[in-house]
């Protein structure tokens, strides 16, 4: 292997507020190698590569390109150092052709002639074995083709160091195989490639070396040939931390929600839910673990009637009447009336649950406006509920008429969770309910979930922090790429076991060593 250093990070730190995204990270990238970066959600992988690509600027530390110190303050600067990043979310103009997108913003001498550019793009494409028609419009392309355009965009600008942020997340196994073939060709051409991926088998098959990050710190960089999946998982997960979340014993456990063989494709035709089956029981907290974007959101939305399913059934057992009903044929309103509650907290917590510009009282009313027969709105009941929640959950707000967007993240979360709980659900779903909350606020939410469990509610909790999942839940279902890779007992499992399940692509994974 070549041992010329292409890129070096020395003692790099990056803070967001008081929280370290990266702390004293050292990293070396050689010419002509593929370096995989491995780490849990929030371990600082993306923020680290963003510093290399000029999207963030490090607070401390230095970056060296070809041995000389480099100051990279913008993506443009990065290109000067021949560094190009391929983002997870494509930045492409839909109605433009591949060539038009590739040439966008490039400053070159000479006359602008699209035919010449088409030719040059085709040349680069054939050099590395991409299959792409430069004249094809982006909106007619598959996801994999769009990714090809993004990679060509970077190559067209003459990049020698390529950074790919989870490039395989959106691809089919066959497309992944093709991509890896191309990446190997680029490596053999002397380019250096950094690839972020969560899938262990891909790390093993594509990379020359692996850098492991944990909680923003660089743990180790090892040669792929000299390590194995188990060792990497241990490095990635680290020691278990004792959180002291009290877990009550489940009582009166009955099946509440029986999900059988549900599958779904998204609008791009990519399978997001693949034959998922599980049971949510009353008086239990079912944890869902998985790499972000493995289908958690789609799964919960499909139960709430917001996401269409191609096949499968979701049977709900009514605790009062004892009747079984298939939720798949029901509208969200009908499902809500049955007592299935979704408190979904995406990255933008005001997106789905609350209206930011409305006050707490009006947000309470979003759930109850259909009740009653009067022509005029009944503000009394929601007002009482708002006051009750503010008092019980210690929501910090000037008064109940403050627009919720003015509250802090934790308090917004309490308003949302509180409202859903107040509706006395029989199934309660919470996705990332503690994202962005501090420790105390998080524990407040955990206690609320525990309280629900004691009251005989079937709780489904999608979490990120494995320590929390293990301490809080009764059972943990692990999903990877839209499939269930295991359902484990939280009382006896370990982080390593879950970690391995999370990074497993399973038996459907194609052998990518080709």
């Amino acid at each position: 292997m070549n041992t010329t250093v292409a890129l070096e990070l020395k003692n790099i730190s990056k803070r967001f507020g008081t929280k370290y995204a990266n702390k004293n990270v050292d990293l070396t990238l050689y010419r002509g190698e593929i370096l995989a970066i491995l780490g849990e959600n929030g371990s600082g992988k993306t923020s680290m590569v963003n510093m290399i690509a000029g999207i963030y600027y490090p607070d401390e530390g230095e970056i060296f390109v070809d041995g000389a110190p480099a100051v990279i303050t913008s993506p443009k600067d990065a290109f000067q150092y021949k560094i190009g990043m391929i983002h997870q979310h494509f930045k492409l103009v839909d109605v433009f052709s591949a060539s038009e997108n590739i040439v966008l913003g490039v400053r070159e001498e000479g006359k602008f002639k699209l035919a010449d550019i088409d030719e040059r793009v085709a040349q680069i494409a054939s050099k590395y074995g991409f299959q792409l028609d430069p004249k094809k419009k982006i909106h007619e392309m598959s996801v994999s083709e769009k990714q090809t355009v993004e990679i060509l965009k970077v190559l067209y600008r003459g990049a020698d160091i390529l950074i790919l942020d989870e490039p395989t997340a959106v691809l089919t196994p066959q497309e992944i195989e093709k991509l890896f073939l191309v990446l190997r060709r680029m490596r053999d051409d002397g380019k250096s490639i950094i690839i972020i991926t969560h899938k262990m088998n891909e790390v093993m098959s594509i990379s020359d070396r692996v850098a492991v990050l944990r909680r923003g710190e660089h743990i180790a960089t090892v040669k792929t040939a000299e390590t194995n999946e188990k060792e990497l998982t241990e490095m990635m997960m680290g020691e278990k931390i004792d959180l002291n979340i009290k877990r009550t014993e489940s009582t009166n456990v009955t099946d509440r929600l029986v999900v059988e063989h549900i599958s779904s494709k998204n609008s791009d035709g990519v399978t997001v839910l693949d034959d998922i089956s599980f049971v949510a029981r009353s008086g239990e907290i079912l944890g869902i673990a998985g790499i972000a974007g493995s289908g958690q959101r789609e799964l919960l939305e499909s139960i709430a009637g917001l996401y269409h399913l191609d096949s499968g059934s979701i049977v709900y057992h009514d605790p009062e009447s004892g009747e079984a009903e298939n939720l798949r044929d029901k509208t969200p309103l009908q499902i809500t009336e049955l007592g299935v509650r979704l408190s979904f907290v995406p990255e933008d917590r005001l997106g789905m649950g609350l209206v930011g510009n409305m006050d707490i009282v009006d947000n309470m009313m979003l759930r109850s406006y259909k009740k009653g027969n009067s022509f005029f709105l009944n503000r009394k009941t929601p007002h009482d509920l708002a006051l009750e929640l503010i008092d019980e959950l210690n929501i910090i707000t000037p008064d109940e008429y403050t627009p919720v967007r003015k509250l802090s993240g934790g308090n917004i979360q309490k308003v949302l969770v509180g409202r859903e709980i107040a509706a006395a659900p029989s199934v309660f779903m919470a996705a990332y309910p503690v994202r962005g909350l501090d420790v105390n606020a998080s524990y407040g939410i955990y206690n609320l979930l525990n309280k629900q469990k004691e009251d005989g509610v079937a709780v489904i909790f999608v979490g990120e922090d494995l320590d929390v999942l293990i301490d809080l839940c009764d059972r943990i279902m692990v999903i990877a790429s839209g499939r269930v890779t295991g359902i484990v007992d939280a009382r006896s499992t370990t982080k390593e076991e879950i970690g391995l399940l999370m990074t497993q692509s399973g038996e459907k994974g194609v052998d990518t060593n080709a």
């Binding site: 993506p75 443009k76 930045k91 492409l92 103009v93 839909d94 109605v95 433009f96 038009e100 040439v103 966008l104 913003g105 490039v106 602008f112 699209l114 419009k137 909106h139």
Partner: protein, 320 residues
């Protein structure tokens, strides 16, 4: 030869609209839906007419006005007046992040008022004197019969309108500036990431677009109406906004579309035996055609015929 007179009139009126729609197309291609276009055209025209009146005084009467100057002076003044209005629009929507629709409608109201004020302070006969220069056509036009009438009987501005449309189409389609401009209108975040100055492109496109559009009003007053001021320029502005949709944002196709619009708009005048009320109904036809086109393009849903993807949306880098 009523049919020839009808066609000539339709083409003349169509070219008035073509200026407006070409200008608005440039603006919209950069992602700005400028509903202030009627106001912009009013102000640009009024400033142009005032400049012509100023030249009238400077020259010392209509007998002393000479050919290129009598057109160039109001032309430049109109361009400047329109560009200034575009600057106001851009300042509000790009720099101050104001809503484009609200800004546009405010600009329309504002522009109509300002133009009325300007014209009230100018003696009509002074700019009317310039109309004959705008009307001036090639001397051999009359000797060629209907052919000459149909193709050579127009003032220079009518030909300029077609030339501008062709040049704009070329720039948008074939040059790098055009590519960047369209990228800004389609996906400003992508353009920004590619190192294109979104703010500058939006300012420039809006100002140039408004300047070109304003010429439509000037030609309407000085050529089509022979220098008689009429308070209908804002109505022409709305027609132009509708015309942009009809052209599906293609300036060269706009040449044909604007003639169709002109055809419908003036048709009533040449159809014998219809009353005033029916005439007004006829003038609605262009809008009807626009609706039909909207329905048609929506049903076919071809990406190339859709408006720029971020039309009407302001872009702030911080918001992702």
């Amino acid at each position: 030869m009523a049919i020839i007179a009808f066609l000539v009139s339709a083409i003349k009126f169509g070219m008035v609209l073509l200026f407006g729609s070409t200008g608005e197309t440039i603006t919209e291609k950069a992602g700005h839906l400028n509903l202030g276009l009627p106001g912009v055209m009013c102000v640009g025209t009024a400033v142009g007419c005032a400049a012509e009146a100023f030249y009238f005084e400077l020259a010392g009467g209509r007998a002393y006005m000479v050919y290129p100057l009598a057109i160039l002076i109001p032309l430049i003044a109109t361009l400047l007046g329109g560009a200034l209005m575009g600057l106001i629009f851009s300042f509000f929507t790009v720099t101050l992040h104001a809503n484009q629709n609200v800004t546009g409608l405010a600009l329309t109201t504002f522009g109509i008022g300002i133009s009325d004020f300007i014209i009230a302070n100018v003696d009509d006969y002074k700019f009317t004197a310039g109309a004959k220069f705008f009307n001036m056509h090639l001397p051999f036009a009359k000797s060629l019969g209907w052919f000459g009438e149909l193709f050579f009987s127009y003032g220079i501005m009518i030909y300029l309108s077609i030339a501008v449309a062709i040049v704009v189409a070329f720039v948008l389609k074939k040059t790098k500036v055009g590519l960047h401009l369209r990228a800004v209108g389609e996906n400003p975040a992508t353009a920004d990431a590619a190192g294109i100055n979104v703010t500058r492109y939006r300012y420039m496109a809006t100002c140039i677009g408004c300047a070109i559009a304003s010429l439509g009003g000037l030609v309407f007053i000085m050529d089509y109406l022979n220098g008689n001021w009429e308070y209908v320029i804002d109505a022409i502005g709305w027609l132009c906004v509708a015309l942009v949709i009809f052209t599906t944002w293609k300036p060269v196709f706009g040449i044909f579309c604007s003639i169709v619009f002109g055809f419908f708009y003036v048709a009533a005048e040449y159809i014998p035996g219809i009353d005033l009320a029916a005439k007004e109904l006829f003038k609605m036809l262009p809008y009807l055609v626009t609706i039909v086109v909207l329905v048609f393009t929506s049903i076919r849903n071809k990406k190339e015929n859709q408006p720029p993807a971020s039309l009407g949306l302001s872009y702030f880098r911080e918001e992702r």
